[in-house]
Amino acid sequence: MSQSSTEVARQSEPEGGGVYKASVGARHVMNRIFTLLLLVATCVGLVVLAILLVDVAADGIPEIDWHFITSFPSVTPANAGILPALIGSLWLLGLTALFSVPLGIGAAVYLEEYAPDNWLTRLIEVNISNLAGVPSIVYGLLALGVFVQVLGGLTGGRSIISGSLALSLLILPVIIIATREALRAIPETVREGGYALGATQWEVIRGHLLPMALPGSLTGVILALSRAIGETAPLIVVGAAAYVTFLPDGPRDRFTAMPILIFNWVEQAQDEFRLLAAAGIVVLMGVLLLTNSFAIWLRNRYQRRY
């Protein structure tokens, strides 16, 4: 559209025309340049992402084999594997989901369905949006001070539980916000229909609102959990072990995780370890790609307009 109008502007411009007409041509040229600049701006991120993926894949994929997945870390790069980190990340994922999903959905239901409109509710809302902006490493310090030091007897100190509690608090705001949006999208008629049949508020929530909000809420949950899998900083502060040659026995045991192991390998001077780090990243990104595609599929499959 802008192209044709530029052509028109140029054609209709007489030789040595007035100031006004000359500026029309210049303005349309500017318009084109600007459009191009915006397109470039949009593509910058995508191009970098593509380079990043290709770079990591080129380094990492040749390193991945069955031995890499099923072996323990080692000081000799050729023997090193990711097994304890993989298991540790699965533990963290499971416990974080166990803690954060009920708490997050519960808080969202309360704020959306029950909470009176008063200063206390507004305080909670402001507080949640604020917590979403707190740097992840600060959650690590919170977990170090509370779950590792004060409640160390309960959690086992620098354990899987402490790590997953830190991650749970970190992703709670994301789950709450996603679930609230899903609940808000349900029309009021659904609630009124339930009440008209004599259902109590909780029966309406359990029987109608939660099932209807589930796809939206679940999308938020999966995205939040995939963020938790990739988090490094809070786990380092909580005290994830850098070099682990055992599998955790239970949730109160010490642990390592995929991002921690990758960080450790990146820090090694030898190039072989950098290649291993790339391989670890490929595995991590593969898991994230799977979970995120699942979330998008879920959203597209069940997304309803009311």
Partner: protein
């Protein structure tokens, strides 16, 4: 609610009443449990403030607050009688990487937001937006690896040669900027989206080109939201940890030269936390004092950003 009848029908109303009371109690319990979930978020904030405050006070018993805020040397990683605890080098490292990230993220993010909302056809937009959002989902350790093993060598070969240190502020700053693009773009786009069509159409009717509408009508009208997105982006950059921890080095020095090794507040915490530091030692206390500074800085930024967002919501929605 319960049906009170006379002596006529006995069993039915009683069953009804008993169940009804059970339902009332259950409703109350459910509401209480759900409310507790919501209040937990307040508890989390209190927890953060209390933990940080307690250990920070411990720290200030050993080191004066004046030294902490004004001294220009930070040697806390090597505790001893001559150790100095001035946070300025860590702040300068943080400001430097944040500034570099902003140079990338703010114009590019705003440009992407304008393109998505004003220029891109609907079909293209449906693909571009999620694709951009992938950038925010990549784990930061991956960005760190990329900055260290790809961007730094590239910058050395192409521009700086050996004057760029292997660990430097420039490379993690640039990569961090790319990471923040989606944050800036998505909040900006929300506010641009909220600008009424009539404003644009008025400008077109006066003969404005698309660029003029975008830069002179849409951007000023959405300004408070755009500013909010910028501040949110800055806050992300200030708190970002792993990219700098991997590619920025561990040398806390007061410099604004992007080619130098630096240390940010967050990457200092990581450096200390990786070693075994026992509770009660001054090194242990420093990470909380630094964490407190970081927390306060991001809190202020988040609150300012929130105020700006509220302003554009109030204006157009």
């Amino acid at each position: 609610m319960a049906v009170e009848t006379g002596s006529g029908v006995k069993s039915d109303p009683q069953i009804w009443r008993r169940e009804s009371r059970g339902r009332v109690i259950r409703e109350r319990i459910v509401k209480g449990v759900l409310a507790a979930c919501a209040y937990l978020s307040v508890l989390t904030t209190f927890g953060i403030v209390l933990v940080l405050l307690e250990e920070t006070l411990q720290f200030f018993r050993k080191v004066s607050i004046v030294e902490f805020l004004t001294s220009t040397t930070w040697t806390a990683a090597f505790p001893g009688p001559s150790a100095q605890y001035g946070i300025l080098p860590l702040v300068s490292g943080t400001v430097l990487t944040t500034a570099i990230a902003c140079v990338v993220a703010l114009p590019v993010g705003l440009g992407a937001a304008l393109f998505l909302s004003e220029y891109a056809p609907v079909g293209l937009r449906r693909w571009l937006k999620p694709a951009l959002e992938i950038l925010a989902g990549v784990p930061t350790i991956v960005y760190g690896f990329f900055a260290l093993t790809f961007v730094t060598p590239l910058l050395q070969d192409a521009f700086f040669g050996n004057s760029l240190y292997g660990f430097n502020a420039l490379s993690p700053g640039l990569v961090m900027g790319v990471m923040i693009i989606p944050t800036v773009a998505s909040v900006s786009e929300d506010s641009i989206y909220a600008v009424p069509r009539s404003l644009r159409e008025g400008a077109y009717a006066l003969g404005a080109t698309k660029r003029e509408v975008a830069t002179r009508i849409v951007v000023p009208a959405a300004l408070s939201g755009i500013v909010a997105s910028f501040i949110l982006g800055i806050s992300r950059a200030v708190g970002e940890t792993m990219i700098v921890a991997v590619a920025g080095g561990t040398l806390a020095q007061l410099t604004l030269d992007p080619r130098q090794s630096i240390q940010t507040m967050a990457s200092y915490i990581v450096q200390v936390a990786r070693g075994e530091t026992s509770r009660g030692s001054i090194t242990y206390d420093t990470i909380f004092a630094v964490g407190m500074t970081l927390f306060v800085m991001t809190l202020v930024l988040n609150i300012v950003s929130y105020l700006f967002v509220r302003r554009f919501r109030e204006t157009y929605e």
